[in-house]
Every structure is written in C-alpha cells, then in structure tokens.
C-alpha cells in the first residue's frame, strides 16, 4: 500500500505546483468535452423536445433507439469514427484523425443520445397544465416551446450535466481518435490509463483527483442554480 500513499503525496505536490503536464491534460479534456457537450446540447435538446411533444409513426422505436444509444460503448464509437476518419475512410482526406476535433466528434456522438433521451424524459414529465396555461394565455408554438423548456430547465440542465459527465470521464474513444499525443490530445483519462500502465501512479492519482473536483464543481454549480430557483 506504500506506493499508493506515496502516489497520493506526489499527486498533491503535482497539483499544488501546477505541473505543466497536469495542466495540459486538464485543458485538453475540458476543451474537447465542453465543445462536444455544447454541440450535443444544441442537437440533443431539440431532438428530445420534438420527440416528447410530437406523436408520429415510429415514435416508440425512436425512443428505444435513443435509450439504447445512451449505453453506446465508447470503444465502439471510437471504432466507427476511426473507420470514417482514417486514411482509407471516406473522411480521411480531412486529416482529422488524432486531432482534438476527432475527439470532439466521438464525444459528441456519445453525449447526444444521453442529452436527447434525458431531455425527452424531462419534457414528458412537465405538468400538462403548463401547455394549457401557456396556450390559453395566447402563446404561439415557439413561445410554448420556450415556456416548456424553461419549465423543464433544471431537468434539461441535469441531462446536459449527465452527458458532460459521460464524456469527460470516457477513455476509449479519446484514446482511439486522439491518439494520446502528449500536450495535444492527451486528456486526463488517457493520461491516467497510460501512467497506470507504466506503474506511475502519482500523475494518475493527481488527475483522478482533478476529475473528481471537476465533477464536484459542476454539480455544486447546478445545485446553486437550482437553489436560486429562478
């Protein structure tokens, strides 16, 4: 167990001394995950909203598909996107493989179904009186959609946070699509995987702690938002 305690002590010193390798991994992780969740929210929230508020043929299979995609294995996403972006792939000429953009694409695919499916549940859970009240007060379709989204804002934010939690913590697709290039595509999770395999626990633990701090901060912010209530 000694190595573990040593690892923790060294981790704390790496964090407090703002070690450049730690900072770089944190920056790459946050940059790719924040970009990916922003796109996933832009697409996922409207998808979830539309599926929840419209009745159409094939709605059930669509809901089932969204729910299934929530559990999409990260390596499968990595594999699919890799096959498209690799040199022989249809999007090979774009030269995106082993870049942060490729990682964003993978994370976007992972996060969108989560955001969409949880938004769908959030919108379905809105009090039916919201619709009737907005309509009787004269809301048009767009205003009604805005009102419903606003009424479900905490649950929709929770959906986005769940998506963010999934992608900031994933390692499979980031590793396959980013290539774990130091200072460029090396994220917190890929560093932890690499360092652990090398038997270097300190950096891994330091980044693990930071990952937890990120998760903690996001949830504190969410809670503060909920407490303000407006």
């Amino acid at each position: 167990m000694q190595y573990l305690f040593e690892g923790i002590a060294k981790a704390l010193s790496l964090i407090s001394s703002l070690d450049p390798e730690v900072l770089s991994a944190v920056w790459v992780s946050l940059r790719t995950s924040v970009t990916a969740i922003a796109f996933a929210s832009l697409i996922g929230v409207p998808i979830g909203f539309l599926v929840a508020t419209h009745n159409f043929r094939g709605k059930r299979p669509v809901v089932l598909l969204l729910n299934t995609l929530m559990a999409l294995p990260t390596v499968v996403v990595g594999l699919i996107v890799y096959s498209f972006l690799s040199r022989q792939g249809p999007l090979g000429p774009l030269g995106l493989l082993y870049t942060p953009s490729a990682m964003v694409v993978g994370q976007f695919i992972l996060a969108t179904p989560i955001v969409a499916a949880l938004t769908l549940t959030a919108v379905q859970g809105i009090d039916p009186r919201v619709r009737q009240t907005a309509v009787t007060l004269g809301a048009n379709r767009l205003q009604l959609a805005m009102t419903m989204t606003s009424e479900a804002r905490f649950a929709i934010t929770a959906a986005i946070i769940a998506g963010f939690g999934r992608i900031i913590a994933e390692v499979g697709s980031a590793m396959m699509l980013g290539g774990n290039i130091r200072g460029y595509t090396r994220t917190m999770t890929t560093t932890i995987a690499l360092e652990t395999s090398k038997g270097e626990f300190a950096l891994g633990i330091a980044l693990g702690v930071i990952l937890l701090i990120v998760a903690f901060t996001v949830n504190i912010l969410f809670q503060a938002l909920q407490r303000r209530g407006i």
Partner: protein
C-alpha cells in the same frame, strides 16, 4: 353592452373514451354578459369551459365566435385564443416570479418590457398582491396562487374571461373581493365573464344567467324549487315573500330581494299535517310523478309547483298518485338563500 352573441355552441358533443361528457344542442353567450355555470362534479363544467376557450376541439358540432365559425385546424386559432382566457380550477404558475407570471400574457403579445411590468403591477394591485411581486410563485399559498392566476388572465384584457371554480381556495373576504373585481372588469371593459362553480349562491349572486349542467347536458337554468322573492320580517320571524299570499320561513340576516331554493330531499311528504318543529308546512295536490332510479320525484302544486324526492318504499306505503293531496314540511334552515 349586449351586442349579440359572442360565443355560440351548435350541436356540440364531446366524449372521452367513448363516454359522452358534453351534449349541448344550442347555447349562446351574449357579449358583455355575466354567466354562471353550475352543476355537480363531473357534470361537464370544465369540459364546457375548455371548449369555450378553444383549448379542446369538440368531437362533434361547431362553435361560433363573434358570428364566425371556429376552425380548429387553422393557424388563426392562436389569435382567437388570445381573446378568450381560461383560469383553471387548479391553476399553475410558472417557475418564475409572481410579477413575471402576471406579465406572461403580455410577453406573448410582444408588449415591451417596461410597459408589461407596469401593467402587470397594476393588475396585481387589483388582487391585493403587489407585495409579492418579486417573490417566487412557488412560495405562495393556494389562495394566493388562485389570485395571481386571475390577475394573469385579467392582464391580457380578454373579450371573454372563463373561470373554473375561481374561489374554491379562497376565504370569504378574498372571494367577495375577487367577485367585485370581476364585476368591475365586466362593467369597465364589457368583458364577457363565464364562471363555473358548484356554489349556487355565488352563481345566482354573480350572474345575469345561470346554466345548470347535469351529466353533460344543460338542464335549464334553475335548480329545483328556486324562488325569487323578498325577505321580510313576519311574526317576529324571517319570511320569504314570493307574492302577497305565498311564501315560507327562512333563516337569513338579509332583507330585501333574494333568491331561495329548497333541496327536494329536505322536504318531508305526508298525507296528514306532520307534527314537528319545522316551521314550513304547505299542502297541495300532486301534479307530477317521475321515477329517478330508486327515488320518486313528486311535483306538488302548493300555489307554486314544489318538487320533492321520496323513496319508492315511502311512495308505495303512502299510496300516492296524481291528484292526491299531500303536506310538504321543511325546516326554515333547509332553505338556501342567494
């Protein structure tokens, strides 16, 4: 204010799960009128209001608003809805401040922010809730929620205001203040107001016209044994004088013109005068007999027709028939005064 019907229902039928909940061959509401809709729970009051506010499309029949047929599949429905506002029985306030809730209808109409806040504050003042303007709506009590919901509807200044049991959660002072506010709005802006309630006193006190609903059908505008008269003092007791020679004892502190009704189940029917503490004992001949499930509905001509409900067993034991003379006994306290 009467300029012809603002809303008309023609052969309207509505059903849920194949059960007919509303069946109205013909009903109209005059512009600027005050209407009460009464009936027990499940009579179809809420469905009627939802149809009249264009929130639900009737399965059959049609609606006319200001003489024009309403087309539910048309884009113009939104502009019609902006002229009629429904305050629901259990109103919902949005997760926002009280002021923003009241200003909601103005926001959807594109009223500029400072103007909508000014107007919202003014309406909030009429329901006496200005001090709550910046509070979260979710912190209000049931009665306050109801008043904010009414203010929110009033802020849009609709042509038709529909209210479903608007005073159900309110105490007496607030109830009369809301009713007074509604009357003022009606006088000031000529707003047609349709108010559903199970409180007959409120309906008759408030409206020019009362619609009684039972099982989705309009059953005439009066409950059984409804009389219009004048409350006077007689022999040291309170008497409702219906005409010079006819009336009965009631319990009320009021004097002057009033409506009163007697629940047919509260009337004891007997072949001989009934010896009891009840102050009212009328007699007359049976002019109508009608079976209603296990009860018999008797119509007795006591000078004016009086309806009483008795069980089938009593009916058979007393061997009653058309033209039988009977005595009707009821307590002064069983008379409801409006």
């Amino acid at each position: 204010m009467n300029q012809g019907p603002i809303l008309e229902l023609l052969n309207v039928k509505h059903s849920y799960n194949r059960r007919i909940v509303l069946d109205i061959p013909d009903m109209s509401f005059q512009s600027g009128g005050l209407y009460g809709v009464v009936g027990p729970n499940g009579a179809g009051k809420t469905t009627l209001l939802k149809i009249l506010s264009f929130l639900e499309e009737p399965r059959e029949g049609s609606i006319r608003f200001e003489g024009q047929f309403v087309n539910f599949s048309e884009n113009g429905l939104n502009s019609l809805r902006r002229q009629t506002t429904l305050v629901m029985q259990d109103p919902l306030l949005f997760h926002n401040t009280v002021l923003k809730n009241v200003a909601y209808g103005l926001w959807v109409r594109g009223v500029e922010k400072s103007e909508r806040m000014r107007r919202a504050l003014k309406v909030l003042d009429t329901v006496g809730l200005t001090r709550y303007a910046d509070q979260k709506a979710q912190n209000l009590s049931g009665g306050e929620i109801q008043r904010v919901a009414i203010a929110r509807a009033l802020a849009t200044n609709p042509k038709v205001l529909l209210l479903d049991e608007p005073t159900a959660n309110l105490d007496r002072p607030h109830t009369s203040s809301i009713i007074d506010t509604l009357r003022d709005i009606n006088t000031q802006f000529g707003t047609t107001i349709i108010l559903a309630t199970h409180n007959l006193r409120q309906a008759y006190g408030f409206s020019n016209d009362v619609i009684s609903l039972l099982d989705g059908r309009s059953v005439g505008s009066h409950p059984d044994n409804l009389f219009q008269g004048k409350i006077v003092e007689q022999n040291g007791r309170t008497w409702l004088s219906i005409d010079d020679s006819y009336g009965f004892y009631i319990v009320s502190d009021r004097r002057g013109p009033a409506y009163a009704s007697v629940d047919p189940k509260e009337i004891i029917v007997s072949r001989e005068p009934f010896d009891s503490s009840a102050l009212n004992c009328l007699h007359g001949k049976i002019v109508g007999l009608h079976q209603e499930g296990s009860l018999i509905r008797l119509t007795v001509d006591t000078g004016v027709p009086f309806v009483s409900l008795i069980t089938m067993t009593s009916f058979e034991e007393m061997q009653l028939n058309i033209n039988t003379t009977v005595y009707l006994t009821f307590k002064a306290a069983s008379v409801e005064v409006y």
